[in-house]
Amino acid sequence: MINKDTAERVLVKAMSTGGSFAELFIENTLGNSLVMVNGVLEKSVSGTIFGCGLRVFHGYNAVYAYGNDVTEKGLMKLAQAAAGAIAAGESGSLRPFAPVAVANNHKILKLPSDVSKTDVALLLRQAHDAATAYDKLVTQTSNSYRDVTQDVLIINSDGLWVEDQRIYTHIGVQSVASDGGEKQTGRDGLSAMKGFELFDDRDIAEFGRKTAESAVTMLRADFAPGGEMPVVLENAFGGVIFHEACGHSLEGTFVSKGASNFAGKLGQRVASEIVTAIDDGTIPGAWGSLNIDDEGTPTRRNVLIEDGVLKSYLLDRLAGLKMGLPSTGSCRRESYKFAPTSRMNNTYIAAGKHTPEQVIAATEYGFYAKKMGGGSVMPTTGEFNFAVQEGYMIRNGKIAEPARGATLIGKGHEVLMDIDMVADNLTLSRAGGMCGSLSGSVPTDLGQPRLRVSKMTVGGRK
């Protein structure tokens, strides 16, 4: 994509006015996506993302410039623009490039470029057929497929020269059940840092059936009640609670400014002692994994909270610089159009001691969130919210009638303390969430075992 002499000239130019460190991120990404609505393949699009981001540090601040012109002329223009924004300081020096070969932990068996779009259409149709066969009440389906092949080259003034390829495959399944003027939706997905082999041992028809079942169940459900009560969160995508409630607040971007409830609390008790939470960017084939992060640092398994005690934040190079800590390999960006910052990879709460059945049996009255939708958080205050896609009431230690339209809200630091039971059925979601924040939208996975929060606000209409 670029030769060494050019890279050298660009980095030197970028630091010439007082920058201490400079980095190039060159990206070429190919993507394909197909959408089938009601069993008819309606959309098929392909696109290439191509460009370069140049970042220069001066003090604890950063200048970022990007463009699509990756010729020497174009890159020197970026360097000029970046250098022009820096007025003083001691220019960093350039170390000789020492190319590193990345060990690939995510073997791809069937490359997206070898996938036939007809095979994709067959897959999407399996989900549609199974959903509509499940019940006559299933009136619409919308199923989608997406693959991404991202090639990156990261070069910096410390002599780093590293290339990596990230391949992602995703399928999303949605079924709508209708009865008169009422409609309810069931959604699920399957995603991984894998090629088309993702679908080799997975029955996509089962996804169609399950989303149909969820939609039909919710169609017959009454509205959820409102108020405070014990809440049981199911495993897998239930982990969205930790992602929203705490994960974002542990990101260096917020912590380094003190704009987080967890700032200055390393080594302190921040959660119930049955809570251990981990962010692991190394899990082979997982949706949020990477060989190296977007600064070229190898990803790691970071224990964030151990037995309730805060052990680590999620840090990128710049936040680490501000805080006097090393990067945790957590620096990410959607594309070259975003300055990278600390983000999550695959975040989960570790398995506990109870069986999943014990958690329900110990709950006299409460709300059981079987499937969660998305959510959001304001890291400064810790206030989070997330939607429940499929929920039930718990009565007398048993899962009772379905309840729809619930939203759960709370404050992250409070909810962590209120987790009073953790089961042993940990699993990652693999549904394929995209996490949006300052550096754009990036694939992240999440997970947890079934767990109970002693008290949470359930927002409902009854």
């Binding site: 197909l34 290439t48 699509n68 623009a81 709508v176 704009a259 919210n385 339209g405 009854k462």
Partner: protein, 452 residues
């Protein structure tokens, strides 16, 4: 490579490759953004990006491909990928291209003076924004975001039917997010944004003051009580609600059964006081455009007039299916997205009733000033919403104590029938990718509030 040269070459090769009709959609953008923290420029961003999206009919089906590498060697990829994509399409409805309109509205959305503004001036404004917020009140702990930015872009759409349109626009924006805290209390966040077409109309002091006051007003908030009560949305949150359900008015969604408005044209679906318009252009309004993503001239129209559903929002394909004209709502998301439907300036129309009068009418209830989780807590298909909210008690027609940690729940279709009154304080949100949304404050009637 120059875009006109690229177009000639692309069109020549597309013809040779057997496409019956084809189109090039080419946006280019220059953007600038500066973020200030602690009196220093924490982040400085400068960017230029451009790209080309190609679509063409091959064997009667439309295929798409796009690239950000505008160079001769990308043409083969564009044509091959578009052909492969066309080959799998099963949709029987054709996606037409457009030859263009005889006339387009004149939309002046390029300000030369803004374009020529010095970087140093923009940096100074961002620094001013931070300082003004910090100095406004001693309970301001930190200004976590003080951002000022500008952008300018050009869009070119040309096709084999003769369409050849282009439009230049630019604008500026600013964002302030402050953290306020009183001694021993919980921190609260105040947020305010501004968008405009010239720097003269940007007052860092006003934006800073509004952000701080929003935060301060929430200090000491208590949890709301669970109740079915009178709810007023302020203008910002009312616009959020209508934006979340805008897709229910897309003909495309109606035709596919993803909206409950099918068969309701000409019928009363909302309260008499509700008039909702989607305008393609309004004089002086940021977000105005002369044409949509298919090159169809922008149109101004009422969607709901005094409660009656007047039209759906159409692109060329959904219009052809219903045998009507496009309403100029063809929309393409980014460079890669296929043509779908989007909004123009989509807004609830104001009345003459002031915000204070609306509070008076509501008597006792809840005023909502903040909504979170709009991407998750809304079911666009059913109209159900259940959203994390913050705001104030309304007591005896006046604003009372702040409340937070509550969820407001209801159903959009029921809510628009129950709206008691809309206010006079129309405010447009900052333009987003798929439309610019606005509303005055809205007294929605009774909704469910969940808290303690």
């Amino acid at each position: 490579m120059n875009i006109q040269d690229f177009k000639s070459l692309l069109f020549e090769k597309a013809r040779g490759a057997g496409f019956d009709s084809f189109e090039m959609y080419a946006p280019s953008t220059d953007s600038f953004q500066v973020k200030v923290f602690g009196g220093e420029i924490e982040e400085f961003k400068s960017a230029h990006s451009s790209g080309v999206s190609f679509r063409g009919t091959y064997g009667g089906k439309m295929g798409y491909a796009s690239t950000e590498k505008v160079a001769e060697d990308s043409i083969e990829y564009l044509l091959d990928a578009a052909r492969a994509n066309a080959a799998v399409i099963e949709d029987k409805d054709t996606e037409p291209l457009y030859a263009g309109d005889a006339e387009y509205p004149v939309v002046n959305s390029f300000n030369e003076k803004l374009s020529a503004a010095e970087t140093s001036e923009k940096c100074a404004l961002a620094k001013h924004l931070e300082t003004a917020a910090l100095e406004y009140d001693k309970r301001v702990v930190s200004v976590d975001l003080a951002v000022m930015g500008t952008f300018e872009g050009e869009i070119v759409i040309a096709n084999s039917l003769g369409l050849d349109v282009s439009h230049r626009s630019n604008g500026a924006f600013a964002v302030a997010m402050v953290r306020v805290q009183s001694e021993g209390g919980e921190p609260k966040v105040g947020f305010e944004s501004w968008a405009g077409s010239d720097l003269e109309s940007f007052s860092p002091d006003n934006v800073a003051r509004t952000a701080v006051e929003k935060g301060l007003a929430q200090l000491g908030a208590s949890k709301a009580a669970t109740a079915n009560t009178e709810v007023v949305f302020n203008n910002e949150t009312a616009a959020d609600i209508f934006a979340s359900f805008a897709s229910n008015f897309f003909a495309e969604d109606v035709q596919k059964g993803f909206s409950l408005l099918g068969g309701k044209l000409g019928q009363k679906i909302a309260s008499d006081v509700l008039t909702l318009r989607d305008d393609g252009y309004i004089d002086g309004c940021v977000g105005s455009k002369p044409f949509d993503s298919e090159g169809v001239a922008a149109k101004n129209k009422a969607v709901i007039e005094n409660g009656v559903l007047k039209t759906f929002l159409y692109n060329l394909k959904s219009a052809e299916k219903d045998g009507v004209d496009s309403t100029g709502n063809g929309f393409k998301r980014g460079l890669t997205g296929p043509i779908t439907t989007g909004c123009g300036l989509f807004a609830v129309q104001p009345s003459r009733v002031s915000f204070d009068q609306i509070l008076d009418m509501a008597g006792d209830g809840i005023l909502i000033t903040k909504l979170e989780g709009l991407h998750a807590g809304v079911n666009a298909v059913t109209g159900d919403f259940s959203l994390s909210a913050g705001g104030f008690e309304i007591i005896g027609g006046k604003i009372g104590s702040p409340v937070d940690q509550m969820v407001v729940s209801g159903n959009f279709y029921e809510m628009i029938r129950d709206i008691v009154q809309v206010g006079s304080d129309l405010r447009f949100d900052t333009p987003s990718g798929d439309g610019t949304f606005g509303s005055p404050s809205v007294y929605a009637g009774k909704l469910n509030i969940s808290g303690v």
